[in-house]
């Protein structure tokens, strides 16, 4: 049944593209609202009729996975949710994959956010992934959350030397000194790995500049696609690896699935998002080609005239 729907919608898209191609051969530009409509149909139809593709992890993602995999049990890992609902579909899968991986490896998890709008998303990850999937995890002993603080780099500049000065209490109002996870932790330098997830400022770049570099803490950022190219220069010295966009997240999810049987039923939003992604990419590529045909046609017609 789904196959029929899928072929049908692909058919419509292809016929539509051909019609535009014919139009563009006359050297005319199409209204951009038609392009908008195409994008809508493409993404909607490929969502409706599920498509999934296998993912092979690239080296840069594998390095992050191996780092978490090979850290000794009980290592301290800090995850920072530096994003808002607008970036959520892209980076939330990474955050959840990191949480799962850290918990299954029995690392100690420290969760925080530099974005006011990240607070609710941080909670969502704790409530919907961490607690139900790892019911044995004890708050304060296996994981803790510091919540949001305003100030961005100002916050980072303080926690690089002293957590308690910035956070008198955790998110629930418990003083840090009463939380076992903070018993031996003074500053962000005591972390074994930091996983900043985000795509704006303050975000992964600030973590590298203000915590990773001065404190020599390994950083493995999970990035929205828009900033990923920007973070490449920091790899591999200042960032041990990175996850870029949904594809990075999908590769990480597939690594988790491959290595841990217990995750075989987990939801894999990034992997399932790769279907619509692929279709949309193909349509965009088609539009680039059509655009160039129009351009050369137009130029030829002007030359002849």
């Amino acid at each position: 049944m789904t196959n029929i729907g899928l072929y049908f919608s692909i058919g419509i898209i292809v016929i539509g593209l051909l019609a535009i191609l014919r139009y563009s051969l006359k050297g005319k530009d199409i209204d951009r609202r038609i392009i908008f409509l195409f994008m809508f149909i493409t993404v909607a139809s490929s969502l409706l009729f599920k498509m999934e593709f296998p993912e092979k992890p690239t080296l840069i993602v594998k390095k992050v996975f191996n780092k978490i995999e090979n850290l000794p049990e009980g290592s301290r890992i800090l995850i920072s949710f530096d994003f808002d609902p607008a970036m959520k579909p892209e980076v939330m899968p990474m955050a959840n994959a990191f949480v799962r991986h850290c918990m299954v490896k029995k690392h100690k998890l420290y969760i925080m956010t530099l974005w006011a709008t990240g607070q609710a998303l941080m909670l969502e990850s704790i409530e919907e992934v961490l607690k139900p999937e790892f019911p044995d995890a004890v708050y304060g002993e296996d994981y803790t959350s510091l919540g949001f603080k305003a100030g961005g780099v100002g916050v980072l500049n303080v926690i690089i030397t002293d957590f308690r000065k910035m956070y008198a209490t955790d998110e629930h109002g418990t003083p840090l000194d009463e939380i076992p996870l903070f018993a031996e932790v003074t500053s962000a330098k005591d972390m074994d790995l930091i996983l900043p997830i985000g795509g704006g400022a303050p975000g992964p770049k600030e973590w590298i500049l203000f915590v990773g570099d001065p404190g020599k803490v390994p950083i493995a950022p999970g990035l929205a696609a828009v900033v990923a190219p920007l973070i490449y220069p920091y790899y591999p010295k200042q960032a041990i690896g990175l996850l870029g966009g949904v594809k990075g997240a999908a590769e990480y999810e597939s690594e988790l699935l491959r290595n841990y049987d217990q995750f075989k039923d987990m939801d894999t939003p990034a992997l399932s998002m790769m279907g619509p992604q692929t279709m949309a990419h193909i349509v965009i590529i088609a539009f680039i080609i059509i655009g160039n045909i129009t351009y050369f046609r137009k130029r030829r017609m002007n030359d002849n005239a």
């Binding site: 908008f36 969502l47 006011a116 209490t169 500049l209 929205a224 920091y234 200042q238």
Partner: protein, 270 residues
């Protein structure tokens, strides 16, 4: 012609109510969550707002304007509240007043008199709202500017300058094993020397020529011009690559929204 907007508004309102009713009917209720009616309302509102924003793609219209103005008001207040509770109550109150700390149930750190400074600067900043006292808010602005400058100067010098230079120090020849193996393996793996050497060479030349392109004291002629030409090509590859890479991110945002509309709201996908 004046009738059209009224009809459209009426139709949208009717659809809104219909969706509210339908969603309230099917809502899952447990003891912790809100009532079915309010659940139905909120999910309908979310869907309405999503569609209102998307309608901008066709053209500007009153629904979009409504959504936009709502967003502006709500988000400004949201940031204020978050800042108030986390930073003012969380970091300032415990250093100034024991009574207030107990009232807000935050652990009192002890009286730190110098924390009156940010309080004063904060109020000075608000003076900008008054027509006459605007000039004094510059003191706070100066504090913000000074902090940014002081934080940025050493960090950018260290991470974006010195570390970036030393990251470019790469041996151009990686484990050379003779010309035969050099030309026999064009793979990306660690054993592929050709690509390893090519990558190092491209990074070196790219950084070198890119910096030459951004060199403003000399006219770009002769050898300098050639290098700067190559520099702009490398930059163009960079921009093309970034653009291509970003497309993925933008689409996932759309996927996220459509999943909500078609799944959570219309129930077409599970």
């Amino acid at each position: 012609m004046r009738k059209a907007p009224i009809i459209i508004t009426a139709v949208v309102a009717a659809l809104f109510v219909l969706s509210w009713l339908l969603k309230s009917n099917g809502a899952v209720v447990d003891e912790n969550s809100m009532s079915a009616i309010s659940q139905g309302f909120w999910i309908t509102l979310s869907a309405f707002l999503t569609l209102a924003v998307m309608s901008f793609l066709y053209q500007d219209n009153p629904f979009y304007k409504f959504a936009e103005h709502l967003y502006v008001g709500v988000s400004a207040a949201y940031w204020m509240c978050m800042g108030f509770w986390t930073t003012l109550v969380g970091n300032l109150v415990p250093r100034l007043s024991e009574g207030l700390s107990n009232w807000f149930e935050v652990p009192y750190v002890g009286f730190k008199p110098h924390f009156i400074i940010p309080l004063v600067f904060g109020f000075l900043l608000l003076m900008r709202l008054s027509p006459k006292g605007g000039w004094i808010s510059r003191w706070s602005l100066a504090f913000i500017v000074g902090t940014t400058a002081g934080l940025n100067l050493p960090r950018f010098l260290s991470s974006d300058f010195i570390s970036q230079i030393s990251a470019t120090f790469m041996p151009l020849l990686v484990n050379w094993q003779g010309i035969g193996s050099f030309f026999s393996d064009f793979s990306l793996s660690a054993s592929g020397q050709f690509i390893g050497i090519l990558s190092n060479l491209v990074v070196f030349l790219g950084v070198f020529c890119g910096i030459i392109y951004f060199f403003f004291s000399k006219e770009h002629k002769g050898a300098f011009g050639v290098a700067s030409r190559f520099g702009i090509w490398i930059l163009m590859i960079t921009f093309g690559a970034s653009f291509g890479y970003t497309v993925m991110g933008r689409i996932s945002l759309l996927v996220g929204r459509l999943t909500f509309i078609m799944g959570d709201w219309l129930g077409l996908i599970s």
